[in-house]
Amino acid sequence: MSWSVFAPEIIVFAVALIALLIELDRDVKRPWLGYVIGMGFIGALVADAVLLGAGVTETAFNGGYRIDALAAAFKAILLAASALVAIATARVSIAGAKRGEFYLLLSLSVLGATMMASAGDLLVLFLSLELTVLPSYALVALKRDGRSTEAALKYFLLGMVASAIFIYGASLTFGLTGSISFTDIAASLSRTGMSPALVIGIITLLAGLGFKIAAVPFHFWAPDVYEGADVPVASYLAVGPKAGGFAAIIRLFVVALGPAATTWAPLFAIIAVGSMLVGNLAALSQTTVRRLLGYSSIAHTGYLLVGLAVVSGYARTSLIFYFLVYSAAVLGAFLIVLAAAPTVGESIEGFAGLSKRAPGLSFAMAVFLFSLVGLPPLAGFIGKFYLFSSAVRGGMVWLAVVGVVNSVISFGYYSNIIRQMYLVKPVASSEVSVPWPLKATIYFLVAAIAVIGIYPSAILTMLNL
């Protein structure tokens, strides 16, 4: 084992240290800090891409840490998203906080999420999970007003409860299988089979991780936090912790609990259906864009979990691919809110006639939302097609049908925003001015979604799926 396989984590850690050092000097306004941090993440992304391209598979620390294609794919998505967040926010005012503080907490949380994707035993999983969420609690509270504090406290208290439940599950699993290493758990499980106590262990572990990915019934924090936190924070939260959470779920369930797949697969099916239904139905009657995106992200967790309810490599690949597609679109949508909110506010009605005031932004938003719906020829369509076709192949036609029907329901609230932007008269006519890094990031995401939609093979080869 060489240390070079840890290059992405080491670089992210270095980025965090830089942010910390700069933060010590409190008096300077630094628009360049975002670029530095963003470049750092891109460096980590390149390192990760090299590992991915070389097909490195390594196990470190007695199986506690794994570097493989699964980890590298999720890290790539996560690091790319974080780099975009950092660059997009470079010239945006981050309310109530010193810029350095934001980037410090961001990079620490990113570090945690990257480690989560590589976790090979329960202890590393727990530690990386905490490293992901602890800075994000602080991130949510960064704005220091009533709403963000409330959101942070909700996120924190519920997150703590979820963590405690997770540890309880981990302790049961450890006790019943005699190990915390994923491979040893799997070996022991195939020897002894399932027991009722282990069922409790599995479900409590799932609850702990389900909280991070905002799956029903552990989803309540998501809309509140997405609405209460500062927009840059919310845009990171919609992608970052989720990436880590999904990577960890795949690793924990497929590797460690793989022998019990027939037991947990139906569990994911239920949670998937519940998340889709709750997310989509609740989103229908929302009035602010961010809250709507919060519920929509719950619904997307539901779609993604289809990839676990169907037990096949094909389904898991489709999950990773859809996660990429989802991340690009949801990140884009949040960045649009970031760009537009100072001028038009965050209510859906505020977006009225945006196509006149900011044609570029409106077009980008339409692309993001249509991709989230899954309209061809955008990336979201291929992602959903891939995901639902895996359900059909796995013999779970009903799950695909539920997914399709839900996508159609979701169309109702996404199209409402588009209708506001394109078919309603603007209330004011002032131009929407957007800092150029933010604009560049948004257009980059539009291009990415179009390219992935039109030529998906390119990205699939890159991600080595």
Partner: protein, 610 residues
């Protein structure tokens, strides 16, 4: 025939050029888009020539290949495609040329032509698709463009609402299409059109798949009960209506059924459903058209009715006759809409009873309108007569008498409302306030009318017995050859003449007292209110959905009630816990999390295989 990809690519390129450089082109935007569509038309003509010469092709290129999933895209050219390409490109070309005059003063001139180009490109891609997924993608794109074009004048609230209605209603159908694809994928294992149509499907699978696909077709082709969007879609610019009604949007549904015909043919049930829905639609829309006053709405209901007729044709197995009717209808309906546009352009009203005597001032428009109207009414010898004839004969020969009766009655009503429309608008005396402003439209608008009048009137001849039913012979797909049934032909001539004659007596000669039909007559009111279908939708469908989502939504904010109800069986201690937890939001959330875990554990321990 590898160059066929140029056909959709040219209008698509025009869209992209106009999207980015449109402002610079300004008033010259139409050169880009008209040039593109005319080139596409030229290529389509050449392809038709080659296909008549016996060539066809299917090009598939792998697009997405990962694991076990192979998705191809490609271009499929056969006789159906060649015919459709001709219809779409020719009508679209004329509509675009016509728009040059019609939209001259619009502020968003370039954006209009950009949308029109994209709309056409999507439809052409749909027709050429060699894979159902690709077809679905184009299908959605067609829907999206119609949304943009119907709502083009979004400052008008009605236009914005109509656009939304069109989009949402057709989405209901799209679910069917998508689910149909799920079924086909499950049964066949891939979605290439060639292999799906060649697959031998079990009857149950064929029924399920075809009914789901038909649901999609019902949305796009405005079949009862999903037809409600089409009349409202009149809020768009008139050339757009012409395009939607003749060549693009509504033709997509019929095309889908025609393309998937082997799947439908494998299921008797599906065929009967198609014919039945077609019959209901045809008759219902024709009756509604009788009492409308808005010139474009009359034409809109007439489109719905004619689409119903096409579905009848497909349902009774007259595949080629149905496609033939689609073709002839495209031409004469485009002509009628463009004619109506010309009338509206000069009269500045859409109410036919505010017009009258326009023929004197607008000779060209009136003449071409008459050609289109007579073709629609099934006047012997003109296009509509021959194509309608094929459908009626097939229904009669097959012994589907109720459907046949419905189709015949529809023809009678059609002839009547066409006569009413023409006589009220063009004959009689002109209103005072009209005299000054009415004028013939500019050449750019009248020329396409004149050009369209020829195919509208005469294209039917290529499918008539006079030419040995050449059109049907070209398309034939496992159906017996057409044989002229003199009785059916006689009946159809009789109803066409009767309808037109009665309209003439009623609206032109004034022989009948005007109070013959009382407007308070309940039947009249029923028709006038379009069978109250819109109201039924609003109250019966939209309200419960909104209510349902509200209900589920309140679950999230006031989890309490749900939690209380759901856990009534828990011990009093747990009940106490729930009640206490009602006080604070965070703890409600936490409580539901914990209850969720408990429910999952119970469920797993009870039902799951350990």
């Amino acid at each position: 025939m590898t160059y066929a990809w140029l056909i959709p690519a040219l209008p698509a390129a025009s869209f992209i050029i106009l999207l980015f450089l449109g402002k610079r082109f300004g008033k010259w935007s139409h050169f880009v888009s008209v040039g593109a569509i005319l080139s596409a038309f030229a290529i389509s003509s050449f392809i038709l020539y080659q296909v008549i010469g016996g060539r066809g092709s299917e090009v598939l290129i792998p697009w997405l290949s990962i694991g076990e999933l192979d998705l191809n895209v490609g271009i499929l050219i056969d006789r159906l495609t060649a015919v459709m390409l001709m219809v779409v490109t020719s009508v679209a070309s004329l509509v675009q040329i016509y728009s040059v005059g019609y939209m001259k003063e619009d502020r968003r001139y370039h954006w209009y032509f950009a949308c029109l180009s994209l709309f056409t490109a999507a439809m052409l891609m749909l027709v050429l698709s060699a894979n159902y997924v690709q077809m679905y993608a184009s299908w959605e794109l067609v829907g999206l463009c119609s949304y943009l074009l119907i709502g083009f004048w979004f400052e008008k609230k009605a236009a914005a609402d109509a656009a939304k209605k069109a989009f949402v209603t057709t989405r209901i159908g799209d679910v069917g299409f998508l689910l149909g694809l799920v079924v086909l994928y499950y049964a066949v294992g891939n979605l290439d059109v060639g292999s799906v149509l060649a697959a031998r499907l079990a009857p149950a699978v064929a029924t399920a798949a075809s009914l789901l696909l038909f649901l999609g077709a019902m949305g796009k082709s405005a079949q009862f009960p999903l037809h409600v969007w089409l009349p409202d879609a009149m809020e768009g610019p008139t050339p757009v209506s012409a395009l939607i009604h003749a060549a693009t949007m509504v033709a997509a549904g019929v095309y889908l059924v025609a393309r998937s015909y082997p799947i439908f043919a494998a299921s008797g049930v599906a065929m009967d459903v198609v014919a039945g829905i077609g019959a209901v639609t045809a008759l219902m829309a024709a009756t509604i058209a009788l009492v409308q006053r808005d010139i474009k709405r009359i034409l809109a209901y007439s489109t719905i009715s004619q689409l119903g007729l096409m579905m009848i044709g497909l349902g009774v197995g007259a595949y080629s006759a149905a496609v033939f009717h689609l073709t002839t209808h495209a031409f004469f309906k485009a002509l009628l809409f463009l004619g109506a546009g010309s009338v509206i352009h000069s009269a500045h009203t859409q109410d036919i009873f505010e017009m009258g005597g326009l023929a004197k001032k607008m000779k060209g428009t009136a003449f071409t309108f008459a050609v289109g109207g007579l073709a629609l009414a099934g006047f012997p010898g003109l296009s509509g007569f021959w194509s309608k004839e094929g459908i009626l004969t097939a229904a009669f020969v097959k012994g589907a008498y109720p459907v046949f009766a419905a189709a015949l009655l529809t023809s009678l009503l059609t002839a009547f409302y066409v006569g009413r429309l023409y006589f009220v608008v063009f004959t009689g005396s002109m209103r005072k306030n009209m005299q000054a402003k009415v004028h013939e439209s500019p050449l750019a608008m009248v020329a396409p009318l004149a050009v369209l009048a020829f195919p509208a009137g005469l294209v039917g001849l290529i499918g008539s017995p006079l030419f040995g039913n050449a059109f049907q012979g070209f398309l034939r797909l496992g159906e017996s050859g057409e044989h002229v049934n003199l009785m059916v032909m006689g009946l159809s001539i009789a109803v066409a003449l009767a309808g037109l004659g009665f309209a003439w007596i009623k609206y032109s000669t004034g022989l009948l007292p005007s109070g013959l039909i009382k407007t308070s007559n309940p039947f009249f009111l029923l028709l006038k209110n379009k069978y109250y279908l819109d109201e039924i939708y609003t109250r019966g469908l939209v309200a419960p959905v909104v209510g349902g989502s509200r209900a589920l939504f309140s679950f999230d904010s006031g989890v309490v009630d749900g939690a209380v109800n759901g856990t009534a069986w828990l011990t009093s201690k747990a009940g106490d816990l729930v009640r206490r937890a009602q006080r604070g939001q965070i703890q409600d959330y936490g409580l539901v999390m914990v209850l969720g875990i408990i429910v999952l554990i119970f469920w797993m321990l009870t039902f799951a295989r350990l």
